[in-house]
Every structure is written in C-alpha cells, then in structure tokens.
C-alpha cells in the first residue's frame, strides 16, 4: 500500500520538527544563577525527577509530532491500492481538458468540424463532473491558449468560458501542452488527476519522429511525480476517412524580399495535394495584394496523388512601403491550409553604398563605375537602386547610419567593397556592427586586394566576417584560352538560380583569365554559391551575425581582362546579388511562430502609442517606450498589422505550418511508440468510455482528513498538557 504525497516538496518542511528540541537545548543554555542555601529541598525524589523528565520529553515529542503532522498535511498524503477502491467510492478529482487547437481540427465532415465535435464533448464531460471536482480547460496550439487557466470548481463558469474559445489555427505542440497540464495538476489538491486530450487522431504532432523525441525527454519528468496523472486521448473525429482529399498551400517565397517600385517581383509557392485517388477538379488560386484582388492562378486538374504543384506569379508594386501578398485556394474540407501570406517591403530605390578601393579623391574613372552603372544607369530616370560611391579613405561608420539622399529611409541596405586593399580598425568595426543589423556586404577582390590583411583581419581563421580565405591569384590575364568560366550547374542559390539556363550572353559565357583562388576549408557556415570551371569558388556566401556577406573572386570592374562587364548577364547578376543581400531584413517581416515582431518607423516618430491588429482581428493600442517597438506574442499564425501615427500599415506575417495538413491518422504502432514514454495513456474513441473511466472508483485515498484529525488531537493534547503543567506551577 504505497504512500504518496501530492506536494512532496513540502516534505522538506519536516525539518521544522527540529525546532522544539533546538529551542529546548538553546533555552537550557540560558539560565540564571542563584547562590542558594536550602539545597536540601531542591533535591527531588527519583520518581519525581523521572516524572519531570518524562513530562518534558512528552511535551517536546507532542510538539514535534504536531509540526510533523502539519507538514504532512500540507504535503497532501494519500495511499493508493486497488483494494481501497471497494470502499473508497469515486473521490473528488482534478481534470485538465486539452482541446486540440491546430487547424486540422477545422476539417469539416457532415457539416461539422472536429473542433465543434470536441466542444460538444467537453460540455458533456464538464456536466459529468461532480461538485467539488476541479477543472481547467486549455486550447493546445504551438502555445497554450487558456480557457479556464487554473483548476476551478465552478463548472458553470467553465462552460461559459468555453464559448469564447478561438477557432483552430496553426499547429500544436502536444508535449508542451501536456507538461503545462501536469503543472496545473501539480497545483491541485486532489490525488485523483486526469488529463483529457480531445484531438482528431492525427499522427503529425503526436507520433511523428520529432514529437516522439520530445516524449522521450518528457517521460522522466512524469516518472518523478508521485501522482502521475492518467492521460486520456479521445479521438473526436474517429470516423474521419484515413485518406482524406485535401490541397494544401505551402508558404510563399520570392527572389526579391525587398523590391523596388515598379520592378517586377516573382513570387513562388507550391500546392501539395494530399490523399484521394483519381482525378481532381481544377481549382483556382486568388491572388490579393494588400487585400485587393490582383489576379488568379488556375490549378490544373491532375490525377496524381500527393503531387507538388509549383505555382508562380509576378507583380509590380506601384508604391513604396509595406505590402501584403495573399494567396487563397478555393474552399475545401480543411480551410486552415488554403491561405498563405507574404509581407514584402517595397522601396523607391534600394540604397547601396559603393566603397571604391581607389584612394584618389576624384579620379576621372573608377573601377566601381561598372558596378555603379549596372545598378543605377545614369540614363534611367527611376533607377531601382540608389547608389553612392565613396573612396575607401572617406568611408567611416557615419555612412552606414545616414540617408544616402534627401529622402528619408535611404540608409544603405548593402555595402559593396570594390577591390579595396585594406580596412582600418574603425572601418572593420563599423562593418561588423552593420552586419549585426541584418544588412548585407558584397566584397569583390582584385588587383589591390591585400590577401594577407584580408586573411588575418577579416577572415580570422573562419571566425571573422569574410566568407573565405584568399589563397593566391590564379591564372594569367593574357592567357584567354585557358580562362576559367562559371559553371551553371552550380547555380542553386536564389541569387544566381536565374542564370542556370545557359544562353548566349549568359553568365556561363563569362571569362575569368585571372581570379583570386578562395578557400573555405575550416569554415562551417560559408557556402560557395557559384563555382568556376577550375573547381574554385566564384562567389562564396557567409551569414554573419544577422547579416549576409558575399565574396567575389573577381573584381567585377573590367580589369584582369574579364568580359563579364560586357555581357548582358552582368547587370542582372549584380542586381540579383545586391537584392539578395538586402533581403536579410525581409526576415524581419516574415516571422517564425513566437519570433518577436520588431517595428521601426521610417520617419522619426515620438514615443507614445501605436495600433496593432492581430490575426484574430483584435486590435489593441500598445504603449511604446522606445524604438524599435517589440511585440513577442506572435505564436498565432497569420497577419499582424502595425499602424503608425499616420495610419500607414506595416505587415508582419507568421506563416501557417503546412505540415499540419498531413491528416494521416496514427497507427497502432504509433500509439505503442508513444505509450512507451507515456504508459499511463489510454486511447478512447467513444466519449462514453471516457466518462465511464472517469467514474471509476478511486484507487487513491487522500489522507488529509485523518491527518487533520490527528493534528487537531495533537493540538488539543498539547494545550491540555501545557495547561495542566501551568496549573501545577501556579500552586
């Protein structure tokens, strides 16, 4: 008959039983001294002395026992044994109900979603509970949405709170939800504890490999608890077909996370077709930009199962600012995966700072002129990029923090170091701080480049921000026949993937008779994004802190007899590379669930308040104490809109986890895998079985009443005994 404690940590309080003996022995050390004559009357008889000692010890033991029983009472003791069920009856219990809040619960069948079924069953369960039972109700998503956040005995209030439950969205983190439920139960006072999960039997997020690993990590915590709660998994949509037909829209991608006004931007997405045999009807995808229709994409009627259908569309944004692109698929039984959003920043012209390695203040021509003309041709009245060229000697940190033109918001997004020899210590520190702010740096190597300096100060054995080590110059600029060329087969990177198609004047036609041989040996994060025919890298990328750096093995300035600057591919190449580097900041707009939202107004704005609209449509006015404004409750997928003082919207998107669309149910093998780590789990498909299980006679009998009676008896005994001694003294 094992004895357990609901709050075992309270047992540390047993140390208080030492208080009476400590007080006793301390008081024995503090006494007054009296020189006395009548000693013969102080000498008690042996019997009397024994009695006094016995009374002393008895009183001390009474007090120790009283403290011990109070501590035990606080630790909530119980005994559990199957034999106790015969006479114990169905004791009071604490129940935490977890309702699956992932969007798979929105799957509709027979005009009712799994979410609706779950709510009906929760209402029935709450009605089956008895007065005195404690209940908490949580909606399980990636985070926990509290409905009845702590154990409450007010069952009608719990039912009322259920009406305000949010619609299912996003995915669910079951181990986190169960841990939260166990934590709530640990606060309760009942020995009988149940966690009831109402879900749709989906394998994903319950028994997939990643979740199984987390169950394994969670299991020891449960085994350490004295009263591990029973876990019930009720499949509220047990009759759902195993092979459900469903189309799922995957997150939107683009080659230009930052776009220029009136420039074409290509968006890509994928539709994944789950389940179903045979042909499917053609479907439409509606495109919206900033909530206004911007076209439709027809999805072909295909017969293959589980096909990935790539889609793409282009758009030109007429105005600068924050824009929202939304793709919506026709309605189907699972609406949660029919929509994806993408937040894009559109600028009038992307500000770029070219730092030329030529130290002369005003030379007639510069090597960087090629890049300047490619990025912002002088004849173009509305160039996509705003370029400013400065010599290396003039470059300091102030250029990285101030606008390149009179227009606000033109702080350089990318810095290009064109064939510079060295950087001063201040310049290097400025670049490092610049990269920490999600900016981009493009470095081209040429005749001026001081390899030893680059390797020692900027590469620093792969610890610095330079992506690769400069080994030596390779080739001979007079030996054109043996010049290296870029290898199109290596162009998988977003910045160069458009050059994979080999055409006349394409990047594959570029000749590099001489180039810097780059080595990425010893580096973990550097990736060659384009290779040369000799096997050496052409472009190497390294993410550094929050920014991106691309290193070019050639100067891109027409020197070394390369023909690249004469090819039609040159302008697209530098545009792609520069826009890719500028896209580091796009991660600020398209967030992962839980990633804090950071908002910095374009114009200087006083602190105060700003308005935020959440995906659920709730708007709130939030105080701003300093910029950037940070909001971290971004667990809910969807669109977050921040309105500045002029009511200009800035969009932030938390994409929907499309894996939740995998509606495949868990198998018996999956159940046994989970049961290995959660042996106390019981699966039910009929709510009646769950109700019957909850009504089972209890095996755990709480001992608070006997402990309380014992404590009262000890208090009474202590008081009576002390009173008796006091009366005897009063004689």
């Amino acid at each position: 008959m094992p004895l357990g404690f609901l709050h075992a940590a309270m047992l540390f309080g047993l140390i208080t039983v030492l208080i009476p003996p400590i007080i006793h022995f301390l008081s024995r050390r503090r006494y007054q001294v009296v020189d006395w004559g009548a000693m013969q009357f102080l000498r008690l008889s042996d019997r009397r002395r024994q009695r006094v000692a016995f009374e002393d010890w008895l009183l001390m033991l009474l007090r120790m026992a009283l403290l011990a029983v109070i501590v035990l009472l606080l630790a909530a003791p119980f005994i559990s044994h199957s034999a106790l069920a015969r006479w114990s009856g169905r004791g009071p219990r604490d129940v935490v109900i977890l309702i699956d809040g992932s969007y798979s619960m929105g799957f509709r069948r027979d005009d009712q979603s799994a979410h609706d079924r779950a709510l009906n069953q929760v209402r029935r369960l709450v009605q089956e509970l008895r007065p005195g039972d404690g209940v908490a109700i949580l909606q399980a998503k990636r985070h926990i949405v509290p409905i009845v956040p702590s154990l409450s005995t007010d069952l009608s209030k719990a039912l009322t709170a259920l009406e305000a439950i949010p619609a299912p969205s996003g995915s669910v983190d079951w181990p986190h939800a169960i841990q939260t439920a166990a934590d709530i139960l640990a606060q309760g006072q009942r020995a009988e504890r149940d966690i009831i999960i109402l879900s749709d039997g989906q394998r994903y997020s319950w028994a997939d490999d990643s979740t199984l690993l987390r169950w394994e990590l969670l299991a020891p915590r449960f085994s350490q608890q004295a009263t591990s709660p029973r876990i019930w998994y009720a499949n509220v949509d047990a009759d759902r077909p195993a092979d459900v037909t469903n189309d799922s829209l995957q997150p939107i991608r683009t080659n230009r996370p930052v776009a220029a006004v009136n420039r074409e931007v290509t968006f890509r997405a994928t539709v994944t077709r789950h389940g179903g045999k045979g042909d499917r009807a053609a479907r439409q995808i509606r495109v919206k930009v900033d909530g206004r229709p911007a076209g439709e994409i027809a999805l072909p009627a295909l017969g293959d199962d589980r096909e990935q259908i790539p889609i793409s569309f282009t758009h030109r944004f007429a105005t600068p600012g924050s824009h929202l692109v939304t793709l919506t698929l026709d309605d189907d039984p699972l609406p949660g995966d029919n929509q994806q959003h993408f937040a894009i920043e559109v600028v009038r012209a992307l500000p770029v700072l070219l730092v030329d390695g030529d130290e002369r203040p005003n030379p007639p021509t510069r090597g960087s002129d090629f890049l300047r003309d490619a990025l912002a041709p002088r004849r173009d009245p509305n160039p996509a990029l705003l370029v400013r060229v400065i010599p290396i000697t003039a470059f300091d940190e102030s250029y990285l923090n101030r606008d390149l033109s009179d227009e606000p918001g033109t702080v350089p997004r990318v810095v290009v170091l064109c064939n510079v020899a060295q950087l001063s210590a201040h310049q290097q520190e400025a670049i490092e701080r610049y990269l920490a702010e999600r900016s981009g740096v493009f470095v081209t190597c040429g005749s001026r480049t001081d390899a030893a300096f680059f390797n020692d100060q900027m590469f620093r054995n792969a610890q610095g921000w330079l992506p690769a080590r400069l080994v030596e110059t390779a080739g001979d600029e007079d030996d054109l026949p043996r010049a290296s060329r870029p290898v199109p087969a290596s162009f998988f990177h977003p910045a160069v993937e458009i050059f994979r198609d080999v055409g006349i004047g394409g990047l594959a036609d570029a000749l590099f008779p001489k180039y810097w041989r780059l080595s990425i040996t010893g580096t973990n994060s550097s990736v060659p994004i384009a290779m040369l025919t000799g096997g050496d890298p052409f472009l190497v990328e390294k993410p550094y802190q929050s920014g991106r750096v691309i290193l070019s093995a050639v100067p891109l300035d027409g020197s070394w007899r390369s023909n690249l600057t004469e090819l039609p591919a040159f302008v697209p190449l530098v545009h792609e590379v520069i826009f890719y580097l500028a896209g580091g900041r796009a991660g600020e707009r398209n967030l992962s669930p839980g990633q804090p939202l950071r908002f910095q107004p374009l114009h200087d704005s006083p602190w105060g308040e700003l308005r935020l609209r959440r995906p659920d449509g709730i708007e709130s006015v939030l105080p701003v104490e300093n910029w950037p404004f940070v909001y971290d409750d971004t667990h809910e997928p969807g669109v977050y809109i921040v309105f500045d003082r002029r009511d200009n919207p800035t969009y932030f998107v938390v994409p929907t986890d499309s894996r939740e669309s995998q509606l495949a149910p868990m198998s018996d093998e999956d159940r046994s895998k989970v049961a290995k780590w959660l042996p106390q789990i019981r699966y039910v498909t009929d709510i009646q079985d769950l109700v019957a299980g909850l009504m089972e006679r209890t095996h755990n009998v709480e001992l608070w009443l006997p402990a309380l009676l014992l404590a009262c008896a000890l208090v009474f005994a202590e008081v009576a005994f002390t009173r008796r001694l006091a009366q005897r003294r009063a004689v």
């Binding site: 024995r28 006494y31 006395w36 009357f41 102080l42 009397r48 006094v52 001694l725 004689v731």
Partner: protein, 294 residues
C-alpha cells in the same frame, strides 16, 4: 515604612544599629515593666500617689521641697547565650539583607537590650565548628566586644548544627540560662531536635529564631535557574523552578512544621523570622519571654 537597619549600618556600624533599634523599641514601650527597686540606684522620678512612702528621697525633698522617688535597677542573675549560625546557607540574600546580616542585627539588638536589662550575655558563633565564643558578662564594655565579634564574622562552611549544640549543652552551658538561637536550621531535623532537647534537658530556656529569607519561603523563581550551594561549591542543580515549586514548597513547609511542632513539644519558643520583617519583633519576643515567670 519599615526601618532598614542596613542603611543605618553604613554610618555607625552594628553598635549604632543596636542602640537605635533598642532605644526606638523601648521608647515605643515607654514604661519598662522591668524597672524595679533594688540595690543599685537608677534614677529619680516624681512622686505619684500610691508610691511607697519609704522610697521617697527625703534628702531631695529637703533641698527642693518636692517629692521624688528613688528608683533602683533590678538585679538579675539571668545568663543568656546568643547562638548564631554562621554556616554558608546563612549567607543567602535575595532582595533583602542576608540571613546572617539579619541575625547580626537581631543578635546585636538583643545583646544591647539584655545588657541594658543587666542580664549577662554570651555569644557563640559557629558553623560545623565553634568559631567564636564569648562567655556571658553583664557589664556594658562587654557589648562592645560582642558587637565587634559579630561584625568581624563572615558566614561560610557547612551546616552540621546538632553535634555542636550537643557539645555546647553538655559542656559549655553548665549554668542554667537562656539560649537564644538564630539559625536557618538547615540540618538533619531529627538530630537537630535531639540537640534542642539536650538544651531543655539542661533546663535552659530556649528561644529559637528560625531565620529565613522570603525567597526560601515563597520560591518565586520563574526562569530556568542554576542553584549553587552556598556551602559546597560543587553542588549545583539546574532546574526549571516551575516544575519543582510545588514539591519544594511542600517539603519546605513540612520541615518548618516539624521543627515548629518539635520545638513546641519541648516548650521551646519557636519564631520564624523572615529577613523582610522588622528586627524589633525579636526584641518584643525576648521581652515577653523574659517577663514570663520562670
């Protein structure tokens, strides 16, 4: 307000204490019932009708033309011994003078009074052993010796009164007289009573002043207390006074009751003297005893 002899002692020693106490006491009594007509002239006083004619001093009448009566001190052959217990236990002092100091005041006052009465007074100071002994004398110079002896004695040593008292009764006090005992009597009670019986056997008048401190009678201690014996330095007892008070008081009262009853059976005047009581009480007791026909 009680007169505190210890205050007076600061200024004039035990002699001053004794004289002040006794004269104050006698002033209160006003007329000594013991003034008689004997051989030794004491004083003249005015004649009142009823006085015997033969006591009128005619010589004075001749000179002053007034009737004066001659008074004479009564002669006595009473020998009184003051037995003072100077054992360690007599050194106990609570909020009042120690028992020994109190005994000193009583003894000095009695000696003063006795000598004033023309009684011969002897002094024995003892603990287990005889420490000081002054034979009984009746002259006034003897008072000075008595008081000096009292002043120069400090209490100490163990209490074993009975053997010494036996010795005194058997060998020292040969002539019948009065024995005034000042002691806390903290000794074996049976042996003590037997020794007192020895005094009575020798036909001595015995007044037993049982000198006690109020703390010994009431046992008012509340905190945990270590009682250290005044007689044996190693004898220590750490007790919770609350826990033993009842038994202490029972035993103490039983001791006092047996002592009182034992003394009563032997026709010994037993008087419990508490150190917070006025010393004059002892003088009254003595005088009433002295007045009683022997």
């Amino acid at each position: 307000m009680n007169f505190d002899p210890s205050e007076l002692r600061k200024y004039g020693g035990l002699t001053m204490v004794a004289r002040t106490l006794v004269e104050g006491f006698l002033t209160g009594v006003h007329k000594s019932p013991y003034k008689g007509f004997s051989v030794e002239f004491a004083e003249h006083r005015q004649y009142y009708p009823g006085d015997e004619i033969r006591h009128v001093d005619w010589r004075v009448y001749g000179k002053t033309d007034r009737y004066y009566v001659k008074e004479y001190e009564e002669e006595t052959n009473l020998k009184a011994y003051l037995l003072i217990d100077a054992s360690g236990s007599m050194a106990y002092r609570g909020d009042h003078p120690s028992k020994f100091q109190y005994a000193q005041y009583v003894a000095a006052s009695l000696a003063y009074l006795m000598l004033h009465q023309r009684d011969a007074v002897g002094l024995i100071i003892h603990d287990t052993q005889l420490r000081q002994m002054l034979p009984a004398r009746a002259n006034t110079k003897h008072l000075l010796r008595l008081i000096r002896t009292l002043e120069n004695t400090q209490p100490g040593g163990e209490t074993a009164l009975a053997p010494l008292w036996h010795d005194l009764a058997g060998h020292q006090f040969r002539r019948r007289g009065m024995v005034v005992i000042l002691s806390d009597c903290f000794d074996d009670l049976d042996r003590l009573l037997k020794a007192l019986r020895h005094f009575r056997h020798r036909r001595h008048e015995v007044i037993l002043f049982h000198v006690l401190a109020p703390e010994e009678i009431e046992f008012p201690f509340q905190r945990l207390t270590q009682f250290r014996s005044l007689e044996q330095s190693r004898d220590r007892l750490l007790v919770d006074p609350y826990r033993i008070r009842r038994e202490y008081l029972e035993r103490f009262e039983e001791f006092c009751r047996r002592l009182r009853e034992g003394a009563g059976q032997m026709q010994i005047d037993y008087h419990r003297m508490c150190t917070n009581e006025p010393v004059e009480r002892a003088l009254g007791i003595y005088l009433s005893r002295r007045q009683r026909p022997r």
